[in-house]
Every structure is written in structure tokens, then in C-alpha cells.
Amino acid sequence: MAEMTLLQAINNALDQQMEKDPTVVVFGEDAGFEGGVFRVTAGLQKKYGEGRVFDTPIAEAAIIGASIGMAINGLKPVAEIQFSGFVFPGYNQLVTHAARMRNRSRGKYGLGMVVRMPYGGGVRALEHHSESLETLFAHIPGLKLVIPSTPYDAKGLMTAAIKDPDPVIFMEPKRIYRAGKQEVPEHEYTVEIGKAKIVKPGKDMTVVAWGAMLRETQKAIKPLEGDIDIELIDLRTIAPMDSETIIESVKKTGRLLVVQESVKTLGIASEIISRVNEEAFIYLEAPPSRVSGHDITVPLPKGEHHHTVDEKRIVHAVKTLAQYAV
């Protein structure tokens, strides 16, 4: 066991998989020599050489397009998109190819590949460095989408992603890259993709969060503990979504709050709410609700706080929902 930040845990998973599996390759803009602008891939090029760990031209379509070719020809590509806000030029490759190659070829060309990208706000950054774009991947059949919220899960999910036979988008909450350390086993282990985690059982209300929002939610609900017995769920895999865990929980609590960092309209919460309606309608004691960003562009840092979902807004949402009575 070793104490690691979320960032170190990802680096550790990459390192371990590269060591065990010579087909794993890691690349992206500045991901080679300097180990990425956040240093997630630091040390790997020195250890595994320029063939397996390399810098790419600034060309997101080529990065993802080439990943597809590599996956078909015997490699396990783990590509980095420098920030999730720059994935759009490569989005065509994700939607029209990565998500479809298996089905298109009726199983002949499955694509084991991972596309990593730091995402999310609260880091006082320029435009396009603060978005939460889960919906754009979760809406596309054929893609998997994973978001860790702890160092332990980060390593286990990254390991699982590399071993996964399907393309996995791996969004990294950069705001908590170095937000704290946790004991992480040194040996190889996986955290199953497609399973949410009940972080804390409870019976009054179900709260679902993921990524950087999980910590925010934990901070928010801590002081409420005596009053409201919250079942906190870390979604972990956004797609395919573990609706079962959420639905079972709501059947017990009757109340659902989804904490989402993204804009409101068509964020992940809207799908969770719809599924809960479909399968747990009669258990609902209050409208399933969401606390989220607004339907605006994430403001530049001097105005960003107006958009951010923080502890206080979560507390407010929890209380409002708890107080709801028909």
C-alpha cells in the first residue's frame, strides 16, 4: 500500500499496465517527454521509450483516429486529450467510429482503447478548461464513460478500462487531482466498470454524485447527518449506467437528488430522473431533483462561482428536497 493522490493513482495504473502488457501505448499532446501538462504520464517515456510513450502533433482527430487503427492492429492505446474542452475536433472519430466499429463489423473489430481527459471546473482556468461534458459521451451507444472520484477507484477503474474490450472515455476530475491522498494497493486490481458504489447507506434520501462533486457532496451532507439519513451513491461509471443501484435506493428512500457539475439541460441527471420515473414511480415521495450548473457557458474565473455547484448549494438542495411534502 502507498499513499497516493488521484493523479498518482492513474499514473500508477498506467505504469503497471505498461509494465505487464507490452501492447499498451500512451500518447497525446505533451504526454510524452514532459509527461503531460498535469504530469499524469510523467516518467513513462523514460521507462518505456519513445515508441510506447509519445508526444503527438496538435490534432485530436488524428489522436483518436490513430488510436482506432492501433487498437485494431494489436495495441492497447491510452490516448490523452489535454483538456476535455478540446475533444471536439476528435469527437467525430469517437461517435462515427470508436462507438461503432464493433457493431459495424458484427464483432470482428472490437476496440479496446482508452481516451483520457481531465475535465471540470473550479480551477481558475481559461475558457474551455472547465466544462463537464459527460452527456456528449453518455448519449452515444457504444462508448463507455468512467469518472473516478477517489485515488483507489482511479487506479482500479483505469486498470479495468485498459483491460476493457470496448472504448472507454476516462474523464479525470482535475480539480481533485491532488486534493488528498488515500491508501492505494500496489498490486494490480480492478474496479468494475458499470457499477455504482454506495458510499454511505441511508434511508431518507438518495443522493447521486460523481467526480469532483462527490467530495463536495460529502462535505455538504456531513453536518446534516443527524437530521437527514442520506444514502450517498458514487455513480463512477456514467455509461453504461448502473441504474439498478439508484433505483433500489430510491425505492427505499423515496427521494432523489442528483448533484451534477454540468449545465442543467440534458445533463446526466435528466436520464437518471427519467429511469427512476420509469421504474420507481410509485415510490417517489417528492419530485426527483437536481442541483447543477446553469444553462450558460462556464464563466471565466471572476464569475465562475455563480455557476459552480458548491457545498452550500448542495446543502440547500438537500434541505429543500427533505422538506418537500405533497
Partner: protein, 362 residues
């Protein structure tokens, strides 16, 4: 070396066979064994016939759609004949000839255009990617295939095809540059067939040749008579050698012409003149290659007649098989989205199955 002797900036076009099949460039005439030459010719003839029939079937409402290859057979067969079985082919959507030569079966190809995904499930050992519809995106796949080949030290290159129109696309640029930076063993064939649907080549780009675009990537770019199968063969053979030696990709402009419509839903008379088409028909790649083979005593009109009879039967039989094929099942439609069906999708499938059962019961 061809790539050093023909400068696209001077509009120099590499050719071996003139339009009548005479060797006009003895220096570069490739030595190809008789068997291969015949395989090349027969595939071209097969594709020509399959192409004409596909259009007919479609007009009869029996084929979904189709992207005709007529006129471009040499541009596709020459390159593939110069490659090895283990090389990868990342096609666009008009590469019937290239795909068949590299191991895709006519049945598969027809099944695809008939509207069934099974037509993209090629046999084991056939290193061909499915038809690629989004313009330009296939070059990135080739770059990745090639990178992987190099890293794993395989005796393998990746070839990819794109149209004149496709070169305007950003993905073409990114992938060409990407492959060049790593000296990836990739060969890119631009079939400049003079049109992108209705848009003529001159409106697509201001560069005088497409081959000169290679200069942007610091790699050789060669303008080739795309209706000359030997020239296409020779130039790709050389490109493969360079690629395997670690010298990186090559961009080849095959100057050719699409004799048919863009696809079955296109009416080319709107945007081009009959005279233009007629002029190009005189440069037909099959005519000149046949003349070459006859000259070499490898072919004869008698053999041609026999071949045409075989092709007729092959193509007709194949299409019958395709028409008799079972449509995709419900499982097919749901089960290949992921390696394992996720829970939510399983539920959707079950609900849909239940619904189907219920409706049938009524």
C-alpha cells in the same frame, strides 16, 4: 526512383502504359508474374461487371444503394497488387476493387450495399477495414494501423484511399501529418476522379495537383496516371519499400475519372457534359491493360469471352445468395453495441422482444 523523377509541382505525371496499352516508359515497367497479372485483370473485369449489375439491381429496387467504381479500377487494383497479404487496407466507400483484390468476397461487398452489417464482417486474415463513410476519417485509422505495424516490427504497411474532395478535410491533414511525423509505414492513394459528387476538382482546392499536398507533410507526393494499372503498381511498390525501410508515408495522386454516377441517387448529367465522359471512356483502364496482356500473349479475345461468361454467372449467383440471405436478427441489432450487453440495453431488448411477441399475438 519514381518519386524523385516526377515532380508534381511541374505537373509531371507518371505513366507506363499509354491509353492503347503501349509501354511508353520501359524503364519503370514492373516485372509481375503472369498469374498476378491475370489476377489483376480478372479482378478489374469482375469489378466492372459487378458494378454495372449493382447499378441495375438498384434501379430495380433490389439493391439499397451503391457507389460505382467504373473507370477507377486500375487506381485501386494496381496498388493492392503491389502489397502483401498482411498489409492493411483502410478504404473510403468507393473501393470495391481494392477490397475484393485484398480478400473481401463479392458476396460480402454486395451484402453491405444491400444494407446488412454482416457484409462488413470479413474473413479471418483479411486485413481490410469496413467501408468508411465519413470523409477523411479513414486516414487516421491507417496512420494508427501503420504506427502499430512499425512499433511491433511487422513486415506490414497500411494503405488508405481517399477522393479528391476528401483532401479538403481536416482529418486528411491531421492523419497525413501524424503518419509523417512518426515515419509510419502508410501509403495514401488519392483517387482524383475529378468530382466530389457535383463539385468539380477545381472548386475543391486551388492547388494545381493533389500530389503537391505531400509537400506540406515533408513526404514524397507523386502524380500518377490512375488509369494505368502498371504505373499504379510500380509507384506503390516503391512506396512500400520506402515505408518498410522506415522512410515514412507516400502520397499518390491517381489521376482518374468516375465514369458512373456518384452513387445510385446521383444524376451526373446535372453537372457534367457528355463529351467529357466520352473523352474519358477512351482512357478506360481495362482497355489498355487488356491490350498489354494480349501483347504479352497472356490474354486473348477468346479468353475474354469465356471470362465474361464466368463473371456473369458469378455475379448473378452471388446476388441471388445475397437476396436470399436472412435479414439481421434482433440479437444482431442489439448484441454488438458492446462486447457484453449492458443491463440497461438488456432491458430495452427484452422490452422490445416482449412488445414484438405481443404484437404478433394480435
Amino acid at each position: 526512383m519514381i518519386s524523385k523523377q516526377y515532380n508534381p509541382l511541374k505537373n509531371e505525371m507518371f505513366q507506363i502504359l499509354d491509353k492503347d496499352g503501349k509501354v511508353v516508359n520501359k524503364e519503370f515497367e514492373p516485372t509481375i508474374d503472369g498469374e498476378t497479372l491475370l489476377k489483376m485483370y480478372k479482378t478489374m473485369a469482375l469489378v466492372r461487371y459487378a458494378d454495372i449489375k449493382a447499378l441495375q439491381y438498384q434501379r430495380q429496387g433490389r439493391m439499397l444503394t451503391f457507389a460505382p467504381v467504373q473507370g477507377q479500377e486500375a487506381a485501386q487494383i494496381g496498388p493492392m497488387a503491389a502489397l502483401k497479404k498482411q498489409d492493411w487496407l483502410s478504404p473510403a466507400f468507393r473501393e470495391l476493387a481494392a477490397m475484393l483484390y485484398h480478400g473481401v468476397t463479392l458476396e460480402q461487398a454486395y451484402l453491405y450495399w444491400y444494407g446488412n452489417e454482416l457484409g462488413s464482417k470479413f474473413d479471418d486474415g483479411v486485413n481490410v477495414l469496413p467501408v468508411n463513410v465519413p470523409i477523411g476519417s479513414q486516414i487516421g485509422h491507417a496512420a494508427g494501423l501503420a504506427y502499430a505495424a512499425k512499433l511491433q516490427k511487422k513486415d506490414q504497411v497500411a494503405i488508405t484511399y481517399i477522393g479528391d474532395g476528401g483532401t479538403s478535410h481536416g482529418e486528411f491533414h491531421e492523419a497525413m501529418n501524424f503518419a509523417a511525423v512518426y515515419d509510419a509505414p502508410m501509403i495514401a492513394i488519392v483517387q482524383n476522379n475529378q468530382y466530389a459528387i457535383s463539385t468539380p476538382r477545381a472548386k475543391q482546392t486551388r492547388s494545381e495537383t493533389i500530389a503537391q499536398k505531400a509537400i506540406a507533410y515533408g513526404i514524397p507526393g507523386i502524380l500518377v496516371d490512375g488509369n494505368d494499372v502498371l504505373a499504379m503498381y510500380a509507384v506503390v511498390k516503391e512506396a512500400r519499400e520506402r515505408a518498410i525501410k522506415g522512410e515514412g508515408p507516400t502520397l499518390i495522386e491517381a489521376f482518374t475519372y468516375r465514369l458512373g454516377p456518384h452513387t445510385t441517387s446521383d444524376d451526373p448529367t446535372i453537372y457534367r457534359k457528355d463529351e467529357e465522359v466520352e473523352a474519358w471512356k477512351l482512357k478506360d483502364p481495362l482497355i489498355r491493360f487488356k491490350a498489354y496482356l494480349i501483347n504479352k500473349k497472356l490474354w486473348s479475345e477468346k479468353k475474354e469471352t469465356a471470362l465474361q461468361a464466368v463473371l456473369k454467372k458469378t455475379v448473378n449467383d452471388t446476388f441471388k445468395t445475397v437476396e436470399a440471405s436472412t435479414p439481421p436478427t434482433l440479437d444482431d441489432v442489439f448484441d454488438y453495441t458492446y462486447a457484453t450487453l449492458p443491463n440497461e440495453l438488456k432491458k430495452q431488448k427484452q422490452a422490445y422482444q416482449a412488445y414484438l411477441k405481443e404484437s404478433e399475438a394480435k
